[in-house]
């Protein structure tokens, strides 16, 4: 379940619909401070079902919706779609026949959220089920946020255990 592409719209600083293709084995994302690089990591975490606003550097979940800039007003919807390459046979039995699987998450200003798999509405549980056990989803050790690499070494030995349990 490699990531083929990521589409963002109204998510954090990505106000306009933006599509990022990830066709390569090693992709580097670059740009000046504050331009939106780490927001791409947040978009992937959010699309995979992240429930804690704090893990997305926000206070409330509505902090992921574009809240305006010098010239633009705030948006009322944040939407992220992650399209996975499903040809490695790792995915959930329900989706074995699809070459691609896409998960979409939306959040409206009024707080309602929507989840979709291959454009069909579903529940959050369906999204987490999709990734459970297949090794296809984000494990705690597959996304390392900015500034947190040193924590693996400086945390207490009990805290480090979680990574091993996740891999077991």
């Amino acid at each position: 379940m490699r990531i083929k592409s990521l589409t963002l719209s109204g998510f954090k600083s990505f106000c306009d619909n933006t599509k990022v293709l990830f066709d390569n084995a090693l992709t580097a994302v670059v740009g000046p401070n504050g331009c939106g690089k780490s927001n791409i990591v947040d978009a992937i975490r959010w699309g995979l079902g992240e429930q804690s606003a704090k893990n997305l550097r926000g206070r409330g979940m509505d902090d992921v919706i574009f809240n305006g800039s010098e010239k633009r007003g705030p948006q009322s919807l944040a939407e992220v779609t992650i399209t996975f390459d499903n040809t490695d046979g790792l995915s959930h039995p329900l989706y074995v026949d699809y070459p691609e699987v896409s998960v979409t998450r939306r959040l409206h200003r009024d707080g309602t959220s929507e989840y979709l798999i291959n454009k069909t509405p579903c529940r959050l549980k369906d999204i987490t089920d999709l990734f459970l056990g297949t090794g296809g989803g984000a494990r705690a050790y597959s996304i390392i946020e900015q500034g947190r690499i040193g924590l693996i070494v400086s945390s207490r030995s009990e805290d480090r255990r979680a990574m091993f349990e996740e891999a077991a």
Binding site: K12, A28, V30, I44, I152, E158, F164
Partner: protein, 165 residues
């Protein structure tokens, strides 16, 4: 379950012992259970010895050494149970140029098992990538994606299929 944890721990420990000296160009390191009799709750200790130094408390290691040790452990876990993709946000920031070079070499090797997306300010890492995305805020406050510069890595047979956006 206890058995699974024990198996994961011992394989990851083996891999960690292989990767650490490659990233540090020498030295040795290993993992140790802090309470081996209680597999359900035991923590995991890291014993690391950079080349030429005495085995010591890992807290005394430098910022760069800690980051490199963390990357060694991370990749050791990946080799035991790879995840299809891996996102690394500026993990190369504390590293000096020589260590960034070794880090990129290892990431390139890992790409046979997983897809890597790395955010970086380092030119060495940029040069090692198959594709480069620039993020810009030409319009202040609004992020846009700019050109995909395909890195001509003739040495690297991994030519990406299609690069048009």
């Amino acid at each position: 379950s206890r058995k699974k944890f024990k198996e994961a721990f011992s394989v990851i420990n083996e891999k960690f012992q292989e990767i650490f000296p490659r990233l540090f160009k020498g030295g040795q390191a290993r993992l140790q259970l802090s309470d081996p009799d209680n597999l359900l709750e035991t923590g995991v200790d890291i014993i690391a010895q950079p080349p030429g130094k005495k085995l010591g408390n890992i807290e005394l290691m430098s910022g760069g050494e800690k980051a490199l040790t963390a990357v060694s452990l991370l990749f050791a876990i990946f080799l035991y149970r790879p995840s299809p993709f891996c996102l690394l946000d500026e993990v190369d920031a504390p590293l000096d140029e020589a260590n960034v070079g070794r880090f990129v070499d290892l990431v390139q090797e890992m790409t046979s098992r997983s897809q890597f997306i790395v955010i970086t300010h380092s030119k060495v890492t940029m040069e090692g990538a198959d594709a480069l995305y620039g993020v810009t805020m030409q319009e202040p406050g609004v992020s846009k994606l700019i050109s995909v510069k395909l890195v001509d890595n003739t040495a690297n047979t991994r030519t990406p299929e299609h690069a048009t956006q």
